[in-house]
């Protein structure tokens, strides 16, 4: 039967046109009464007045009748719910002392949770590419923990042989001077093969992507630009196509503009994507290509892995210069590699925000409990007047839902702001900036709000269902909300709040401790007075080592002449957070060879020139530093750091030891000529193992950092440095002209942000817990006023009263803190990797967190206790008689 459809339509009509139907019914009833009246006059000969009276009597209550009729329409409960909702809003608005804090606290909790949820949802969600589960990033890997980038040989072998991949693309990133008709600026440029964007499935907003025809050496140089770059530097996307941009001193033609917002591809941030032209390789290495692929339809990661392992074995047969037989080309889900270890950070956020939410809900629930006291009389009265229990339960529920709805609205507003705040002050998390408050986040907020509303209303509801309203009616306020059981429940809430707040506080304290230690770490170099501008030379004019050498051999002495400058050096890594991947090399020690086919050790490999060590203030500990005689024609030499020396030659003399660099067996052996102090290149938390090689041997970089040490601030000489360099060649780009001090403080931004954010959560938890215990004790003091008055009248002194109240409150706090401490001891283990030099169960830190929590509890208890002590016994006794 399709009858239900008609019925549904009628129900709908009943809901929407309720007033019209009421009118129809009124007409019908009126007619009925009139006909009955006439009939009575006719058949029984009654007079009209009497007849009408009897007709009405026979009919029964007209209003009652209407309600019955509406009931039959099947929409009465909806109409009543609207009524209840209106009523709930009215009730809530009438008690702002309850509603405003409750909505604020709920809104804050929901807002924070929603913001973090949106972040987590976006970051852990799909990549913005079609069928992103097919995308892989390919590494060379020789052990579960050691993987690195690919060589041209690897890439070409995969492109030619791997049949499980439908597209393969390679990227090489670099910084280069870029000019679109203005002064050149050092900009990140990504050189990509045609397969890169095709594998991702990116479509340009305008123009065409890089094609295989752009790949051979000698093909015209082209560039795909981001929408942002087109707007900033080319006067809008519409004017971009066909324009010429100078990149590295060569003209590139703009062939496409990417869609708006696509300013990173596969996690690589770049405004410019040019065609990568690879030369045929002459050996297996060097590595350094970022390679991604798209697996063909229906291919699993495992199948792809076996396919690539086969390619690896064939490569080993062809090239003997790279002897590592364990190395395999290994595909990883692109999403996983982009995510890195952010899962842990996000988990930390999620857990923290959840704790805050739980504390917030506990607080509001406790507040609602107090309020139930005041409501009890009203509800009893309603019951006495004939409201059914179902009706009362619904009334309370609707009120909670109204509260939750207000919390959700506020939470969504705060969540939008919170998300922006999270992106701005939170630690860097890939893709977090893509997070939006979308439909899913909204649904999430609503679900959280409803759940919170249910929890908040649970206890009053339970009371309604369990207790006999009539019995408690006579008892008044005291029996329920002020009753022992309700106070016990509130006490449990407070214990819970403290148990939840302590782990948060412990985490924040551990991060703070770790951060303070990090700040005190000796980075191994003088932070002042050094400036570290970045200098990029255009490839077109400085294509080979000879040109670079000529430039710097002229410029470095000239820069040293600038007034106030004491030392000038060059280096290709900027501590303390140098990009490790570009500055690594493998080596084999002659004294301790790893053996054939075994993976060789890898170290940070920093190339430097002139007075690098002196400019950075790195002490020479043994042997000698580089001299002008260490050139490409002399035997190759390196200087190592102390940490490196004690790792590879513990207790042995290091100077004079020899090694083979980068697996190059035909190259002359490299000799270690000196040992210098440790500089932390890979972050302050890692020891500064490093090998230094002189640029003079031919390893000149086109983009390097100048290390300028002056007598005053370091930055005072920068204008002169800039003028000198640009005066020699206006195509040179000089940027990041910062003092080392700023670079250093920038390097600890991440841990500082993590600490700030979790510190914020901890403070919120602390405040909420304090408010919770304050509310509990304030209520208890008010309820026990008479008792306190009696005690004082009988001679208890004020201090005893304060002790009694504070002691009672602290008992809850202590129980909660003990539980929380147990949770923290287990839970903070999770934090270990985010901590530096602090154990996750560091007793002093945990003790400090506990004491801070109890201290705040003490203050929160003391305030109501003081009020209790101020009770005037006479007035307290009189007021209730």
């Amino acid at each position: 039967m399709t009858h239900w459809l008609t019925r549904l339509a009628r129900r709908f009509r009943a809901l929407v046109h309720g007033a019209a139907l009421d009118q129809e019914l009124a007409d019908e009833i009126q007619l009925h009464v009139r006909l009955e009246t006439e009939d009575l006059i006719r058949t029984r000969g009654l007079d009209p007045m009497e007849a009408r009276r009897q007709a009405l009597l026979a009919f029964g209550g007209v209003e009652r009748h209407r309600a019955d009729q509406r009931d039959a329409r099947g929409v009465r409960w909806i109409e009543e719910s609207f009524g209840d909702f209106r009523f709930a809003l009215r009730v809530l608005l009438k008690s702002p002392g309850y509603t405003i804090p409750a909505v604020l606290v709920l809104g804050l909790g929901i807002g924070a949770t929603t913001a973090v949820f949106s972040g987590v949802h976006t970051v852990l969600g799909h990549l913005p590419y079609p069928k992103d589960e097919q995308l892989v990033r390919i590494f060379e890997q020789n052990s579960p923990t050691n993987r690195w980038t690919l060589s041209v040989t690897d890439f070409q072998a995969i492109a030619g042989q791997a049949h499980t991949l439908s597209a393969v693309g390679a990227v090489r990133g670099r910084s280069a001077p870029v000019s679109a008709g203005s002064e050149p600026q050092t900009t990140a440029v990504a050189l990509v093969t045609s397969g890169f964007m095709h594998a991702l499935g990116v479509r340009p907003a305008l123009g065409r992507l890089i094609e295989p025809s752009d790949e051979p050496r000698g093909a015209p140089l082209v560039v795909v630009v981001s929408d942002g770059f087109a707007r900033r530097s080319l006067g809008g996307a519409d004017h971009a196509l066909g324009r010429s941009i100078m990149i590295d001193g060569s003209a590139h033609t703009v062939i496409a503009v990417l869609p708006r917002g696509l300013d990173r591809l596969a996690g690589i941030r770049s405004d410019l994507w040019t065609n990568l032209q690879l030369d045929p390789p002459t050996r297996r290495g060097p590595f350094g290509l970022f390679v991604i692929g798209r697996m063909a339809d229906g291919v699993s990661l495992e199948t792809c892995r076996r396919d690539l392992a086969g390619v690896s074995l064939r490569l080993q047969g062809l090239w003997s210069d790279f002897p590592d037989r364990d190395a395999r080309l290994t595909p990883y889900s692109l999403r996983t590699t982009m995510l890195g270890d952010t899962g842990r950070t996000l988990g930390l956020f999620g857990a923290a925000v959840l704790l805050v939410l739980l504390i917030a809900v506990a607080n509001v629930a406790s507040l609602t409990l107090v309020r139930a006291t005041g409501r009890w009389r009203e509800l009893s009265l309603r019951a006495a007047l004939g409201a059914t229990r179902v009706r009362l339960v619904r009334l309370v529920m609707v009120e909670c839902v109204a509260l939750a709805a207000a919390g959700a609205v506020l939470g969504l507003a705060l969540g939008a702001g919170g998300l922006r705040l999270l992106v701005r002050i939170g630690p860097f998390i890939p893709r977090l900036e893509e997070a939006r408050l979308d439909i899913q986040a909204t649904l999430f907020a609503i679900v959280v709000a409803l759940a919170a509303g249910m929890v908040v209303g649970a206890y009053p509801l339970l009371l309604l269902l369990r207790r006999d309203l009539d019995a408690s009616h006579s008892g008044g306020d005291r029996t329920v909300g002020g009753g022992r059981r309700a106070q016990a429940v509130r006490g449990a809430f407070v214990i819970g709040e403290f148990a939840l707040a302590l782990p948060l506080l412990a985490v924040a304290a551990l991060l703070l401790n770790s951060f303070l230690r990090l700040q005190r770490v000796d980075p191994g170099f003088a932070v002042e007075p050094v400036a570290t501008p970045r200098v990029s030379l255009p490839a077109a004019r400085y294509g080979d080592a000879a040109a670079l050498r000529a430039f710097w051999n002229q410029m470095l002495p000239a820069l040293g002449e600038i007034g106030g400058v004491t030392h000038v050096g060059l280096g290709d890594a900027l501590p303390p957070n140098a990009n490790q991947t570009n500055n690594q090399n493998n080596f084999d020690l002659i004294a301790h060879p790893v053996g054939d086919g075994r993976p060789q050790p890898v170290s940070s490999w920093i190339t430097v020139a002139r007075d690098y060590f002196a400019a950075l203030g790195v002490p020479l500990l043994d042997g000698r530093a580089f001299t002008p005689g260490d050139t490409g024609s002399a035997p190759p030499v390196v200087v190592v750091s102390r940490a490196w020396a004690s790792h590879y030659f513990p207790g042995e003399p290091v100077v004079g030891q020899q090694m083979i660099e980068g697996g190059c067996t035909e190259c002359p052996r490299t000799t270690i000529v000196g040992v210098v102090g440790d500089v932390r290149y890979d972050g302050l938390t890692l020891p500064g193992e490093a090998i230094y090689a002189p640029m003079e041997e031919g390893n000149w970089g086109r983009t390097v950092h100048l290390f300028v040490r002056t007598r005053h601030t370091g930055t005072d000489a920068l204008p002169a440095v800039r003028t000198t360099l640009l005066g020699f060649d206006p195509g040179v780009s000089v940027d990041q002209a910062e003092a080392m001090r700023d670079v250093f403080s920038e390097s600890i931004t991440q841990p500082r942000h993590l600490m700030t954010l979790l510190g914020g959560f901890a403070v919120a938890a602390l405040v909420l817990a304090a408010v919770g215990i304050f509310g509990l004790l304030s209520y208890a003091v008010a309820a026990r006023r008479r008792e306190i008055g009696v005690r004082m009248a009988l001679g208890a002194d004020r201090r005893a009263v304060v002790r009694m109240i504070v002691g009672g409150g602290l008992w809850y706090a202590a129980v909660g803190a003990t539980i929380g401490l147990a949770v923290a001891l287990v839970g903070t283990r999770w934090l270990a990797e985010s901590l530096f030099d602090v154990s996750p169960t560091d007793p002093a830190t945990l003790l400090a967190a506990t004491l801070a929590l109890l201290g705040v509890a003490l203050v929160a208890c003391w305030l109501p206790a003081r009020r209790a002590a101020a009770t005037d016994p006479v007035r307290a006794l009189r007021s209730e008689t």
């Binding site: 019908e28 009833i29 007619l31 009139r34 009597l57 026979a58 029964g60 009748h65 019955d68 329409r73």
Partner: protein
């Protein structure tokens, strides 16, 4: 469910002997009344009084909800028209489904009342 507490006779009513409507029988009675043709609400109550020789006084408090429910079930349909008394009234007509429902309910009722009778007759 149909409630019959409003069917009790008015105090001081001249007709003393009146039957309380059995639970669930009002629907059947209304359907029966409408078998003879479209009627408005008062007409239905009047006809039921006539048919039962004044034994059934349908409480109007039950009548209109019942009418609405029957309409909702699709057994009767309603339309506004002018009554024989010359007034605009809402007329109820039996639908095809309603007719079937009446026949089904009637046979059920007969089964039930026959069985009742048998039981009560037994010695």
């Amino acid at each position: 469910m149909l409630s019959n507490d409003k069917v009790s006779p008015e105090p001081g009513d001249p007709v003393a002997e009146r039957a309380d409507l059995l639970q669930g029988t009002l629907d059947l009675l209304i359907l029966k009344a409408l078998m003879l043709g479209p009627l408005h609400g008062w007409g239905i109550s009047k006809r039921l009084r006539q048919l039962s020789a004044d034994a059934f006084e349908v409480g109007q408090g039950s009548l209109y909800p019942a009418l609405y429910r029957l309409e909702d079930q699709g057994w009767i349909s309603a339309h506004w028209a002018t009554s024989p008394e010359g007034r605009r009234a809402k007329f109820y007509t039996l639908t095809r489904d309603g007719r079937k429902q009446f026949i089904a309910e009637r046979s059920e009722w007969r089964l039930f009342s026959g069985a009742m009778e048998l039981v009560l007759k037994a010695v």
